[in-house]
Symmetry: C2
Subunit: 420 residues, 2 copies
Amino acid sequence: MRLADSFRSERFGAVRIQELQRVIELDSGAVHDTGQPSLSAGSRVVPPEAMRAVESQMVIVVPCMNETRSVIEGVLSGIPHDCLIVLVSNSDRRPVDRYEIESQTLEQFCRLAGRSAVAVHQKDPGLAAAFKAAGMTELIGEDGLVRNGKGEAMLIGMAVAAMTGRKYLGYVDADNYVPGAVNEYCKAYAAGLYLAGSAYSMVRISWHSKPKLRDGRLFFSRKGRSSQITNEWLNKFLAEYSGFGTEVIATGNAGEHAMTLELGLKLRLAGGFAVEPYEYMDVFEQFGGVLESSDAEVMAGSVPILQIETRNPHFHDNKGEEHVQGMRMQALNVIYHSPVTLPSVRQAIVDFMISQGALQAGQEPPKERVYPPVASLDLELLYDGLDAEALSFRQFDGRASNGLPPAPPIERRAIPHHAI
Amino acid sequence: MRLADSFRSERFGAVRIQELQRVIELDSGAVHDTGQPSLSAGSRVVPPEAMRAVESQMVIVVPCMNETRSVIEGVLSGIPHDCLIVLVSNSDRRPVDRYEIESQTLEQFCRLAGRSAVAVHQKDPGLAAAFKAAGMTELIGEDGLVRNGKGEAMLIGMAVAAMTGRKYLGYVDADNYVPGAVNEYCKAYAAGLYLAGSAYSMVRISWHSKPKLRDGRLFFSRKGRSSQITNEWLNKFLAEYSGFGTEVIATGNAGEHAMTLELGLKLRLAGGFAVEPYEYMDVFEQFGGVLESSDAEVMAGSVPILQIETRNPHFHDNKGEEHVQGMRMQALNVIYHSPVTLPSVRQAIVDFMISQGALQAGQEPPKERVYPPVASLDLELLYDGLDAEALSFRQFDGRASNGLPPAPPIERRAIPHHAI
């Protein structure tokens, strides 16, 4: 993959946010990386062997909710072979058991492609019990099951990824009609994580365009409805500190993003759709140098956040206006409630929300749920719980289907111990 | 890339048409090809080095007519780095010179990506003069310029490809909104040509689905409007010989297809939209064993035609109903007029066309224009003409933009001599 160089960045303590970089070529051939921007004109190649090295250490988590079989099949076909797939489903289990269809699709794909994967259902009572045993009761709702929500699915996926011992974690939404876009996201993760060159890095995707129906024809919109607002306020947050207006953040709502697990395990994920913007706020809180950091090692290095604009259009199901309004406000809630957000920005958020009819005068924005870091989990207890009680927990072993000695993606004796 | 195995094929003389095979993984990692179907279940991996070997010998011809800049940029970004790009444009040159915009886009892309390319405009008087000098007056219309038409653009592209000395040729339409689909087409060409393992092979793409607007929502249609008819009649053509009904041909109208240049140079391309279905008829005529073949070498071997179903949706501009009706009838015209089509099929075609209102009773289907093979051209004279007179002829040299000694894609002293 060839990326345009990113020349500018904004710092916030140890956090370094790189300006958006474009993908120039999806496949840059066998050209070798010279270790510096290419002679020609501001582009940078990540050679195939470097991409492969990251991919073979990457887990791709696919949160899934009631997608059709053919869409899921397409998404799976786009995930590079060396990545391990983790499907976290919150699909309906009756009248038709859609999770059963999904995991059959996954099983067939793994058999045909000789790949490994893990699947689990978010509302499996055994999953809730395992998280309780492993030390995260916060995740459990009043019904005794893991709470609904995208952030919650992502947390489950991250915990599974942590058990595999792999180094990188990427998220890909299951509602994507373009397998080639999924492939590009994963390639961009690998390229970005390689270029970031830090144990604590993150890569966030900004899609090229989003096709929408308008007056019976397709219009390729450049900006998402809620991203625009989220990015604007995250940038205001930064500008209020630096005194300089900025547009550096272009990926506040990026569903598609990846990170080193070393960083991921330290993050506190938020619930629902607050999860993506809150990742920014959390790194600002933990590594921004405003609050005291508990992590001298990270503070001494840096936390690079690369933002990559992909070539493919982001072509997915339209979830409707209500969904968007919800996402938008959840982002503002987390910025408002962050202890590092300056008072003037907090006031401006309240004013904006009132003007949008999302808040009554005198009210405070609601607080979003924020979970402890995945590093606080006892992964061995989590595994034991999943293995013993979670009926939806499945491991598909690609090695076995290739006639090699079996090696499931997660093995109890190989679960790494992460320092909290 | 990982493809499902194709177990069945139909023979027609030396021509072997393989049943449609699905793409299973866009990127199958560094898994090595075992030289036989994988153990697991009927899939076959083409490893990256094999893909690369084909790509670095492949020319991708992009016929282009009045596409927007951003669509062209996307298509270019999807073509694997090692392929050489040949843009053949028939875009308007006034009031705005769209060819100028296109070739600037191509030049910038090549500079940024360190790549090589060739561009030429179909209506350039110098191009017509060059083809006349090289011995193909059939291509020239009454206005003294190269005729309009897609087949004509493809022929120009093939002649340019022949001058580069590369071994493979693939076509990619410029009106594609999904760069990842373009990438998949090129990868499927490379995988297919590798698997075909013959000096005279062809790979034809059947896209997974085509998104269409219907009642304000998207519907992913599996079959193209004109492909359905074309395939049906090509299969009837085969069945009439074998006595067994067949559905083997699924790519009669495939705009996206690739071949070895050794095969390509022998083909007689048809004009306009007859070009793609006529490729089938032409191999049946030349290598089907019904007519006497002038080519004992090809007849002694085989002409494999692989058909690959891609994962990505084919998402392009809707050209409207008239365009489709035109394509459909041009396909029937070439089947009707082929000397190898049996009388009963010819009669059935006439009946069908009358029932469709495309023909009056008593009329004969019109004859499509068919050109001599590109191998009949004197390529050195063609080059001299382009170099001296074709003002739109441009070579972009990726090596020079990488600071390496210049090496334009076509050099007079390196033009290969093809036996006719």
